[in-house]
């Protein structure tokens, strides 16, 4: 049989190689989302805290919608939605749609972490900075942000690790990340173990992230 012949041709290393390629795509989604969503989240956080009501209302509604619906649905809506109402979205590739959906989704979650951190800062820190003559910008960047950074590291680590695993949702619009590659193998070659093996890729990468975050936390552990 044809299929059995193919199965014999796949060596262990070949399978790992293909999974590795799939994982590269996983990492690409992860990295791009992180780079785009971290600053965008800060913008949304400022929006949510704005004294200008329409902006505040807009930001909070966005966060409500994004956090209130499943990411898998958001990916589908972003990829198929515009076409359904007659927009030309040929410029948006599958990969592009995934990045867009992930960025918006994670910016919303990050924005709430930022907001929590910024709002947890006591008023006295701002007042002390102002009394010493600092501008609002100086007080925010030199006094508030470094302290917020320390406070939000643990929840950020949590969210970022979740992002690594959420990338597997990209396959809903056929963007080939590691789970999709493994699934194909199980469908075509009747091999289940590569699918289970993907877990090791996630574990190893998240292990590294965990180490990175505990290092970052430790760097600021001397002050409280």
């Amino acid at each position: 049989m044809n299929i059995l012949a193919l199965v014999e041709k796949l060596s262990f290393l070949e399978i790992i190689g293909r999974l590795g390629e799939g994982f590269l795509s996983t990492l690409a989604i992860f990295g791009l989302t992180l780079v785009l969503a971290l600053p965008l989240g800060l913008l949304v956080a400022f929006g949510s805290m704005s004294r200008f009501k329409p902006i505040k209302w807009l930001s909070r509604t966005l966060v409500w919608i994004i956090r209130g619906t499943p990411l898998i649905l958001q990916i589908i809506v972003i990829f198929y939605g515009p076409g359904l109402i007659g927009w030309d979205t040929s410029f948006l590739s599958r990969f592009g749609a995934v990045i867009l959906a992930f960025t918006i989704n994670y910016a919303a979650y990050f924005s709430e972490i930022y907001r929590g951190g910024i709002e947890s800062m006591p008023k006295g820190q701002y007042e002390a900075a102002y009394l010493l003559g600092m501008t609002k910008y100086q007080a925010f960047t030199k006094v508030i942000i470094p302290q917020v950074y320390k406070r939000i590291l643990p929840p950020m680590g949590n969210e970022i690790i979740t992002l690594v695993k959420d990338t597997s949702l990209a396959r809903v619009i056929a963007v080939g990340e590691i789970i999709m590659v493994a699934e194909e193998m199980s469908n075509v070659y009747a091999l289940v173990w590569p699918l289970l093996f993907t877990g090791f890729f996630y574990l190893a990468f998240n292990g590294m992230l965990t180490l990175l975050f505990s290092y970052l936390e430790k760097r600021n552990s001397r002050w409280a």
Binding site: G124, Q125, E127, L132, G133, K150, N220, A224
Partner: protein
């Protein structure tokens, strides 16, 4: 030379009149203590003088420079009549639902507050929505604008403030806490030629030199590289004093500097404040430590219910108060 002149300062929180026509002045090198029971407006006064709170009326002059002048110039009392909007349910006897309210705007700062208070005072009112139907005498409210942020920041440099809760920057070491603002904040000074005025912040070396010098003054040279969480409350407060001193303020203000400290630690902070008096620092101290105020202050102000009840030579006011309320307060404090 007068370094601070406060005239007719009024401050409201909503309809709550917190400072009522507070006026006093300070000479260079003078130490002034503000005493009084909690809720008397002491802290609010200090926060108003450092522009952390906005006053609604009055004049504040620092170093001969008028900073805030009569924000709220005049408000004539006026009469408003408010009436319930006709709702479907109360088609009949509409007029019974109309309520006349007289609002005297001279006594409160915001007309909405005045109206809310009026409404609250009417029992069982069922107003869902109110419309203003008549404005018999339009108010003449002239507001001169409160100084802008940038302007306030420059004026603020003349004032230093030591907070009750220290408010040190926890992510910086002691010496960094002291160096931070001097390195960031540009101050006007004449350049090398001595003619032009340039705005510059001092360099890191200069800031460090100054910081170490001031730390020596408050007796904390050995804690320069400690983080605020590694030192005691009394030491934190001394660092806070040193931090304020690094900006060379004309007036150093203290907001109950020992209230967050246990009795054992207050001594070291009071000692530092006393030593500053000897070096001629002008100080404005809000405090609960009456005996300390008696000892260190030249002048004492007794603030009660937002009003200056008594003001004068520290020992006279504390030993022989003239007002009943002051006597009562002193008796309570001194007898414990």
């Amino acid at each position: 030379m007068k370094v601070l002149e406060v005239k007719g300062v009024n401050k409201y929180f909503g309809s709550n009149h917190v400072l009522k026509d507070v006026s006093f002045s300070m000479e260079k090198g003078e130490v002034l203590a503000i005493i009084g029971s909690s809720g008397g407006g002491k802290t609010t006064l200090l926060r108003s003088l450092t522009f952390l709170e906005r006053i609604q009326k009055g004049t504040i002059e620092i170093g001969g420079e008028s900073i805030i002048t009569d924000i709220e110039k005049e408000k004539k009392p006026s009469k408003y009549i408010w009436k319930e909007i006709e709702s479907k349910k109360s088609k009949n006897n509409k007029d019974d639902n109309a309520v006349e309210l007289e609002v005297d705007l001279s006594s409160t700062n915001k007309k909405t507050c005045a109206i809310c208070n009026k409404l609250n005072s009417i029992k069982n009112h069922k107003f869902k929505k109110l419309v203003k139907i008549e404005d018999k005498e339009p108010t003449t409210v002239t507001l001169s604008s409160y100084p802008k942020d940038k302007e306030l920041r420059e004026k603020r440099l003349k004032m230093g403030l030591v907070f009750q809760e220290f408010n040190l920057f926890p992510h910086k070491t002691v010496v960094q806490n002291l160096m931070m603002a001097p390195m960031l904040v540009k101050k006007s000074m004449s350049d090398d030629s001595g003619i032009n005025v340039v705005k510059v912040a001092i360099t890191e070396e200069q800031a460090r030199e100054k910081a170490l010098e001031v730390l020596e003054q408050v007796g904390l040279s050995d804690k320069a590289d400690a983080y605020p969480c590694e030192i005691s409350g009394g030491q934190k407060q001394r660092v806070a004093i040193a931090r304020a001193l690094c900006m060379n303020p004309e007036i150093l203000c203290f907001d109950e500097p020992t209230s967050a400290l246990d009795p054992e630690l207050t001594g070291e902070v009071l000692k530092v404040i006393s030593s500053l008096k000897d070096t001629g620092v002008t100080m404005l101290i809000v405090t609960h430590e009456i005996m300390f105020a008696r000892e260190i202050a030249d002048t004492v102000i007794f603030l009660d219910g937002g009003r200056i009840l008594e003001m004068g030579d520290a020992k006279t006011v504390i030993d022989n108060p003239t007002e009943e309320r002051t006597k009562e307060f002193m008796n309570k404090i001194l007898k414990g």
